[in-house]
Structure formats: C-alpha cells, structure tokens
Subunit: 220 residues, 2 copies
C-alpha cells in the first residue's frame, strides 16, 4: 500500500471506511475504465463533459479538438475535477433504505497542463489509445502534422486524488432479516460483443486478437 | 420529435450534428442509465460526484445522506450540472485520428430543489428505486420516519438539457481505405450476471423475475 496525501478536497467525510488513498487502488480503477467526467468552470458556471482518457505513471491524458470549449477553458488556470466510476452491481437489501450500488470511483483535482511539443503530444495520444485498446497503436496510421495541429492534449497529475469503493454483500438491519424478500447482489459487468467490420472492409484482414479478446479488467 | 429550448449552456458547438434537443431522445438516455455525475461548486472549487438517480416526467431525483457535502452545497442557490453517459462501443478506424467512441450522453443544468414533505420524499425514493430496478419497491420494507429524516432528496427539472450522440460505423479518410488495418465497431454492453444471494438467505424465497431478467435497455 502506498498512500498519497489527503487534502481537504480529497478527504472522504461520508462513509470514510469506503475511502482509499492507496495509489495502487486508484490506478487499478483508472486502468479499468476509459471514460471520465471532467468538471470545469466557465464564467462561474459548472460544466461536466464525458471524455476518453489514458493513464501512464502518475499522469492522466485527455485530448480533443483545439476548438473544444472544455479544453479552451483549461487555460483559465482554475483547478478542474475528474471523476471515474465503475459500477459493479446492485445491492438489493430487504429494506429500501439499505439498497445501494457496488462501485469503485476515483476523483482527481488539479490544474491540467497543455502538451505542446509534437513528440510529446504524439506519445500522449499513443498512451490514450493503448489505454483504451492495447495493441492498436502500432497497427494504425499515426497522426500527421495537420491532425496534430487540430488536436489539443493535456495532462493532469494524479497527486491529489481519492478512491471510494463499496464492495461485498447486502447488509440489513437485524429486525429485517426475517422478511420474505430476496436479498443479495446483482452483479453488473461491461462486455464486448461481436465486432462489426466497417463497410469497406477487406476480406483478407483477420480480426486481431486484441479486439477478439477485448476486456476492461486487467489482472496484474 | 419535441425539442426543448436551446440555451448558451446547452448549445453544442463541437460536432453539432451529434446534438439532440429532443426530449424523447434525452429521456431514453436518462432511462437506460441510473448513475449520473453531479458537478457543483464549494468555495469556487468544482467537485464531481457520481450518484444514482431516478427520472419521472420532467424531473430527475437524487438522494443521499442529509450530511452529504454535495447535497448540503445545493442550498447555495448555484446552478449545478448533471451528466449521464452510456458507452456503446469503440470506433476503430484505420487512422489514429479517426478513432472514437460510440456514446449517448445527456447534460442538464439547473437549480436542484429540496423535497421536504414526508409523502413526496417517499414517492421520490420510490421513483429512484423503480428507475434502478423496476418491480422492487412493492416488495421491500419502506423507509421509516428515522430513515426518512436521515435522507435528503432533491429534484431537478429537465428543462435545460441536451443530448450528444455518436452512432454508426467507423469513418476513414479516402486515402486510408486501402491500409491493411482491421476497422469497424467493437460494441460494448452492460450485462447482469448471476445474482448472489445474501449470507442469511432463506431457501424458500425464489428469485423474482425482475431480478432474473434484469436489463437496462427498455424498449418503448
């Protein structure tokens, strides 16, 4: 276990037993998901936008069009907040009150930094793609100068972050245990279905293993 | 189609062909998901928290402990932002640049209103539970006075909202069509796995159909 420092922003006050500041726990959640929600301000109004991301070491990378309202707002110098959430199941208790969701979530705070050099930008795009579908980058046509110029890429340090996790069985009050209500966990899971080739697909190209065996959970 | 008014906050500037302001499109997305991300401010800092929700007519309901930092912040009078995102697949193009994600997302802006009366609060909790797992509410032990007092419930009108959707096949530049790269869509889907009964489970309680046949997509 390697905890990162707790700040007033990352301290979990509600149900602190569900909190973790262990960087390995945080990274495992960040690695299983690939869509985050980014919270930012424009003219004092809070916006949230979902976007894909990649992680490498203690950095999160996000990218988008250079005309993106969100990415342009990052130059304000305000701290943003990023949230990543995995839903693992429904917790079905005997009382309405004790119903819950099994989940693993991470929140990160910080100032995103723009990546400007062409080389570092390309590397960050590789990290994002490999985070989403490992094995893909080496096969595809790499970004050209025009595409790179149309794209903004930012990094955010994972040094002010926390995880919140609910796991395990449903819990009921003692006096509800005899009620005739089915109780337990209904696990939920993201799966990949049969890949659908593009319209101009060429017969002689076989489906790569990294697509055929795609899954989000990476055993370490 | 029944569009709601577009405001400066909900107008989608990037890739406007992906935008929808049709309330039926928005509601279908809100009904398939059950976890949203809420963006709010405390002392000028943006926070994001994932939480379960329910929808009925033009209202979103969210609830939590009355000590929740998020719910307490709602009394500031600031507008919040809620985002709901469904990920439908990976878009694998022949060039890195044209990779994308098929998704359906909704953003809502507005001022949450606290629900104070015991009857309306209980009804809102029923909406949330039935949104997450339809058929459950009538079976479980309803909230008692103590549980209701420990819970805060808020509603948010869905009258300033927009959807953004990417659907369909991968798209490539003409000059990349002959590259020897597998291209197409890898569909992703949330499924329910085998339910896990609680530890004190009683043999004579059979698994209800609404759990056995649980799925998020509701055909209308």
């Amino acid at each position: 276990m390697k905890n990162i420092s707790i700040t007033n922003r990352t301290k979990i006050n509600r149900l602190p037993k569900r909190a973790s500041y262990d960087i390995n726990v945080i990274n495992n959640i960040l690695d299983e998901a690939f869509v985050c929600h980014v919270g930012f301000k424009i003219d004092d109004q809070v916006y949230i936008i979902p976007t894909a991301y990649g992680r490498k070491d203690n950095l999160i990378f996000i990218h988008g069009s250079k005309n993106s309202r969100m990415l342009k707002s990052f130059s304000s110098g305000d701290d943003i907040s990023i949230s990543v959430t995995l839903v693992d199941g429904l917790v079905l208790a005997r009382s309405a009150f004790h119903h819950s969701v099994n989940y693993r979530s991470v929140v990160i705070f910080g100032k995103p930094e723009e990546i400007l050099s062409k080389g570092e930008k390309t590397y960050a795009l590789e990290i994002i793609m490999e985070h989403i579908i490992a094995g893909r980058w080496n096969e595809v046509r790499k970004p050209n100068e025009k595409e790179l110029n149309a794209t903004s890429v930012f990094s955010l340090k994972i040094d002010e972050a926390s995880a919140k996790i609910r796991t395990g069985p449903s819990v009921d009050d003692e006096e509800d245990l005899n009620l005739n209500v089915w109780s337990g966990i209904l696990p939920l899971k993201v799966i990949a279905e049969e890949p659908v080739p593009s319209l101009e697909f060429k017969e002689n190209i076989s489906l790569p293993d990294y697509i055929k065996h795609y899954r989000r959970k990476h055993e370490k």
